[in-house]
Amino acid sequence: MEFFNLLLIFATAVLVLRKPSRERLAFRLLVLSTVLMVLLFSMATRTGLLPGLNY
């Protein structure tokens, strides 16, 4: 899934750098990548979502 997310990021950067007219699509991809990052990290840490420290 990390590969997929990096693929999204790469495509977003290409749009920004080469096709600035597609700004709206690029921004949506940026949001999608961010959400995917949050979801994947949360899934990886779901057995202890908060930092494992002595609160």
Partner: protein, 499 residues
Amino acid sequence: MEQTASGVPGARQGDGLFTLLALAVLFLMLVPVGMATFWLGFARGDSPCVMCWEQRIGLILISLTGLFVLRFGPRPKYIGMAVLVAGWGMFMALRHVGMHAARDIGQGFSVEILGAHTYTWALFAYWVCVIVMGAMLLVVRSEHVPAAPRTLRGVERLAGGAFLVVVGANLVQAFASTGPPPFLGQSDPVRFSFNPRHWHWSLEEWRPLPISLRGRWAVEKPDLRTLVSDPAAGPLVNLPRLTVKEQRPLTLPLDGPPTDLAYDPATDQFLLATARGIYLTDGTLSRIDRHTIVDPGYSVDLGRFAGAAFLDEGALIAVGENKSYVVLQPNDQADGDANFRFFLESRDRFDEVTRGRFGTVRARLLYVMSAAYDPGTHAVYTLTVPNNRARRLVISRFDRRDLTLSEEYSLDVAPASGLILAPERGLDQLFITGAAVADGKLFALSAAYGTLLTIDLVGRQVVAAHAIAGLTRPVGLALRGHDVYIVDDAGMVTVVARP
């Protein structure tokens, strides 16, 4: 279409700002992300774990928002995304650091750079991002936002090119070490290799697991209310019974329910503890000689006193459920004003010698409800109680001189004791709330199943056990001569003959 600044031929609004931003993007992609990819990954074979991957992607996303700003100007939605990602990145890094921060010196996960492990640097990198973004926002003006996409200049195009190269390299590394969807990064990744035969794609992170906020740290405080008191239901079968010699209620004006009991033969005094209070009484538990109420929270959080014991030379120790402690010394000439910071009541009857925290290893995620002192070995003992996460009876011994852990172990039953554990039962089902040492033996009273253990401190085994019927939530135990004094949380004192 370019926006030009009035009065400066060839220059555009905010060129300096955009140059700084381009350099920041370049730095972020080449130093933390680029070094992690090319040097640690391709050159040294390091593969990110599943958490490292997301932290790295977060840094890449911050750089990507930088490219958005270079192209479209500093619009609020890009800055907002950058702040969101940086904030989440700091949380990710803290979550990761939290797994390893309390380990022994030098220990950690994966590789170390300049004395710190990679996930620690992620926390630093995100922190720097937030600082830099804040500084840049100070100089952003509305006129920096162009009406149309900007034309990128040399350093800005360089930043964009570097971004594509580094992300391209990450695509290679991610494909090799995590694979295409639905494969996902791993908790313990395999060393990076360009050889497909060494690639290990995993679905282990998709397996069902319980969801929790604090994980193994979500430990409930001890609660006696649900314990079974009947000795016949305990893990040790056919225990001999101790006969109750006397049972009477305490009539002392305590500030709350008792939480522990100790006895000092040198002064013929009992020590009664409450959640916050320390009471020295006469040898019949009928008169309070002196007392104080400790301020539990101004410094070390003492929690709720659960154990208390006499130390040497009149000093005494009170231990909280959280293994934090305070050492007090009775003093008739104590300066009440100087002691204002330590005590809530009766400030001129004790001095506070020290307060601190007992650190343990095996008992780290377990609370205690007892404390005992062995004057023969100058050692303080605590015994753990089971909780919703862990069921383990751990005895910890702390040296009186530095109040630091000297030894800890789980209990066994001595084979020669003749004690029999019921099938599928263990000593870790006991709930020790009172303890005292005499003649090299540790006497430990379990509020669950009304069981009194006799533990040989040299052999570290239970050498005898007895049942005491009729106890309801006992919280403290003291040895006085040949008698065992037990106090419960309702203030009832039970006396049995010492086994």
